[in-house]
């Protein structure tokens, strides 16, 4: 039976080459479940299939919590996707594990990529070869509640631009009841959210240091700058009392509920915050440091090609990847998901830069850093723990930080 099929296939391949191209090729695209992303991708697939008759793309999604596990397990079982979405921080693992194949230099010339995309895309490059390309990139910005600003006598059209102004605004907007309990926070404090990125790539630099060496292989935040940055961060709760870790469970929940005047979060939160109806909110760039330094953290999910794709499936996968990283796809993605286009020419249009919401995020991309994580969850946990040791156990910031740095260095060394 199999042999007959094979023969028929060979015959068709040899004799009817032209007709064969029109025969159905099915490729699988994997990403995690996030409503807006799924919707945007469905639309991209529809457009792609209309332009490429004969190629069908099966859209497979998994919950985020076990997305990475599914990809890795599927690979171990010898059954992986043709095109797969991955966080840039997983690249090392996926490349080492043979889950991805390098993008062909003909279809995706590195020089062109580097010219067209934002420089952070180089985090996908290993030994001269690219292993994936993003559709969209993310950066951080300061979200603020205009209603709470007005209530506190602040100008809602003139949000804080420096850390000092930011602290003053947080102090003005914090509300407490008679027993001293916080009933509305000036700012959210949530290391488990985006604050660990803010501390690592922004605050440490603004206090005059660097979190890591340029190759991200050596931890350097355990100096004076890192300690001062962490002391400043924890003092927001302990001395200034403008926020509390765990207030309203999660920072984004507090802001959404209108119980926090400011929060630092990413472009990916826009979708969720757009449904807020009971107050007006605005976005501005992350506050500048004491010496005027601005910094930001940028990240992205890239799309790579699975190691098992070959022949006409590989061809279809390349076409599909080219389409979902095209300017057209990026515009659809921006509209549907709210994430910033990864190509400079698509992102930095006058209209986008002037946009009150996209503008601040785009300007942030200019001076953003992209941490090369080896195990993001574990590295985040170390900063969460260091902060908790200061807040809950009165450990000296210098000691908490030294321990975190030592453990993080061990983590990084173990993966090299």
């Amino acid at each position: 039976m199999r042999k007959t099929l094979l023969k028929a296939g060979l015959l068709a391949g040899a004799g009817l080459f032209a007709a064969n191209a029109a025969q159905a090729v099915e490729i699988e695209y994997w990403q995690y479940v996030f409503d807006a992303r799924v919707k945007a991708m469905d639309q991209l697939i529809e457009n792609f299939e209309a332009a490429n008759p004969g190629v069908t793309v099966e859209h497979v999604t998994f919950p985020y919590a076990d997305y990475q596990t599914r990809v890795v397990a599927a690979h171990a079982a010898g059954r992986g996707p043709d095109v797969v979405q991955l966080f840039y921080g997983w690249t090392d693992n996926f490349v080492d594990g043979g889950i991805l194949q390098p993008l062909s230099q003909e279809a995706f010339p590195p020089a062109e990529i580097e010219e067209d995309f934002f420089p952070i895309v180089t985090a996908m490059k290993r030994e001269g070869a690219y292993y994936g390309l993003p559709t969209a990139v993310r950066s951080l910005a300061l979200f603020y509640n205009k209603d709470l600003f007005e209530e506190a006598g602040l100008d809602p059209e003139n949000p804080p631009q420096t850390l000092d102004e930011w602290v003053a605004a947080a102090e003005a907007t914090t509300k407490r009841d008679g027993a001293g309990n916080m009933i509305s926070a000036g700012t959210t404090l949530d290391m488990a959210g985006q604050d660990h990125h803010w501390w690592r790539e922004v605050l440490v630099r603004q206090f005059g240091g660097a979190p890591y060496t340029d190759d991200y292989r050596t931890v350097t935040y355990d100096g004076d700058a890192g300690r001062e940055a962490l002391e400043w961060y924890t003092s927001l709760q302990t001395e200034k009392g403008v926020g509390a870790a765990g207030f309203m469970d999660e920072g984004q929940a507090a802001f959404r509920a209108g119980l926090a005047a400011m929060t630092i979060d990413g472009t990916f939160r826009l979708g969720a915050f757009r449904s807020i109806e009971n107050f007006e909110w605005g976005v501005t760039e992350l506050p500048a440091g004491p010496d005027g330094t601005r910094s930001n953290y940028s990240s992205y999910f890239a799309n790579g090609i699975g190691a098992s794709a070959e022949g006409e499936e590989l061809e279809a996968a390349e076409k599909f990847l080219a389409y979902i990283t095209s300017p057209e796809a990026m515009e659809i993605w921006l509209e549907t998901v709210g994430e910033l286009p990864a190509r400079r020419e698509v992102a930095l249009t006058e209209a986008n830069l002037a946009d009150p919401i996209y503008g601040p995020f785009l300007r942030g991309l200019d001076y953003a850093h992209t941490t090369l994580f080896v195990d993001e969850a574990a590295q985040r946990q170390l900063i969460i723990d260091a902060t908790n040791r200061i807040l809950l156990q009165d450990v000296a910031p210098a000691d908490a930080l030294a321990d975190a740095a030592e453990e993080e260095q061990e983590l990084i060394d173990a993966r090299n």
Binding site: D66, T69, V72, A73, H75, A76, N93, D96, G97, G98, I99, D177, A179, N181, M182, I183, D190, A192, G193, A244, A245, G246, F247, M248, D249, E250, L259, D375, A377, A378, Q381, I384, D385, N388, R389, L392, Q393
Partner: protein, 320 residues
Amino acid sequence: MAQTNDASAALRAPSPGLAEEPARGWHRLSMSQKQVVWAWGFLAVPILFYAGIRFYPTLDAFWLSLTDWNLLRPARFIGLENYAELVSDPDFWQVFENTFAYLLIGTPTSIVIAFVIAYYLDRVRFMHGFIRALYFLPFLTTAAAMAWVWRWFYQPPPIGAINGFLGSFGIPAQPFLRSTEQALPAIMVTAIWAGLGFQIIIFMAGLRAIPGTYYEAARIDGLGEFAILRKITLPLLKPTTVFLVVLSSIGFLRIFDQVYNMTTNDPGGPLGSTKPLVLMIYQSAFSSYEMGYAAAQTVVLFSILLAVSLLQLWILRERT
């Protein structure tokens, strides 16, 4: 094993009369032997099934614990390195301590509360069924949903229901899940509450099974309520108690849902103060992909479960 082979041979044998040769062997068996063959024939199915999906993976976990498998690269034998790492890992000892805290506080507390409620509920006639249903309700609820509701109960002001209640009596707000001391008991309370309904039902069934004549005889002899409880009820309830203690211990040693769902932002936190062994295994395996290390932790958990179960059966054994 030999019997299993016989059984499958018997199953494959055509029914008597269709073929002479194999039928002869079957006919030579006595009625009771045939019954044994049939019994094993049917038993072989679940046995093989369990061997495939339970025992083989269990044994494989022992092997994996001696390797550095990480899902991506082939497993490499590294001897007892994982176990050495485990012993020298301070996080593991913290997790070990937490796991036993759940067990040693959770099991006795839940058993005592369940017994007291069952003992008195047994005497209530008014709305008995309704009250029993109320106690049983949490047992029917998804652990994740329950954990999230409790998570919001424990929030600081202005939204936490418990802190709101304390506040109305002028008691200062408690950090609960944000405290390294209070977080573990706070989570344990929800786990005890969730399992209570089941334990009450089983205790009540046990109480009902004690013949009323014993009580009558005791009362005629003039024994007080407490003496009846101590001399008749508790000893006769022993099989029920043993069953519940073993079951509840295993439950607390394997606690995961409540902890994970109540601390998703900082799983097992703050500072690992609520992290049980199962959560550590989960993180090693599915967050860091250290399958070998996770397997070593699993072997440790397996040994603890086995030891605790055997110990309890031995302590609570029938002394004849």
